[in-house]
Symmetry: C2
Amino acid sequence: MMKLYDAALSGNCHKVRLLLSMLKLEHEVVAMSLPDLDHKTPEHLARNPLGTLPVLEDGDITIYDSQAILVYLARKHGGEDWLPGDAAGQALVQQWLSYAVNEIWNGPALARAFLLFNRDVDLARCQAAGQSALAHLDARLSAHDWLALDRPTIADIACYPYSALAEAGEISLAPYQALNAWFKRIEALPGYVSMPGLGG
Amino acid sequence: MMKLYDAALSGNCHKVRLLLSMLKLEHEVVAMSLPDLDHKTPEHLARNPLGTLPVLEDGDITIYDSQAILVYLARKHGGEDWLPGDAAGQALVQQWLSYAVNEIWNGPALARAFLLFNRDVDLARCQAAGQSALAHLDARLSAHDWLALDRPTIADIACYPYSALAEAGEISLAPYQALNAWFKRIEALPGYVSMPGLGG
């Protein structure tokens, strides 16, 4: 059975929890504690030299980036629904996977990590980057129901948790009407699961 | 014909130049100047709301993240060579696309951007992150010829330019023997093209 190394408060882990639930995939959860630094033990560094969570093990395969795990699950179990196989579709999804890794991570996710986990970052810089990242999402979603295609894909899953958790980084979500409407669309998808700080 | 909006000194653009050349794909280049802020004009923001380069136009499709453009070109023109279609292969490549966007961008790329383009970042922080990012690459490459699979893929293309340009951010490459050997392997690939600061 697939095994997910998971931390309850991690938005990166939540991306994977969401897709596992939406695809109804059986799996074992190994609960790890970020404050206890379970992700920095020699055992975990042998799984993932970056010492991050989540990590997914599936038979011989170990994958350790949340976007990569979404790609794996979507291609293996999701047909064409969550990540299409054609060049244009894959590229349009990839644009937002990169956005999750750069703009959303360096903005709302790191601002939250500073306030929740004392992560060593410049809070004001992360909050400013976060406002810009959320405003760009809001602009996109003013004209489109979903980020990459005309249906939900792993682009939406990858960008959702840390943008919806932005207020934990003391970045207000009040200005962003289209973004808030998209949160509600995601929270209404079959199989949606919540985590502390998220709706639904 | 495909059209690439390109800046000569951009490592992100160079990823795309490399794959276009290796795949021998005809295309038109639109040269843009970063110092003149060609990428912040209303015309360019209409192509790419993030105001970044590169941008690729191919018929009706416009793609604006360098990793996404690599995915597009590899899936459309590269068969299974540069980005396989199976779940495990795609996920292992994605791990390194995310690495290019996070660890390499936030490390050596932004340190160089500070020194070359006066980008508003914390240089010491980027240099420290850069050393860590390069050391992790070096560790991986001590045991593997290529980053994701047993052959070159877009994972290698995505991670190469800004790691090989690290000294422009005043991060020494001298400690990293396996990394330097990988640079040479990439620079020996058919169709490799150079840019200021790179070998080959």
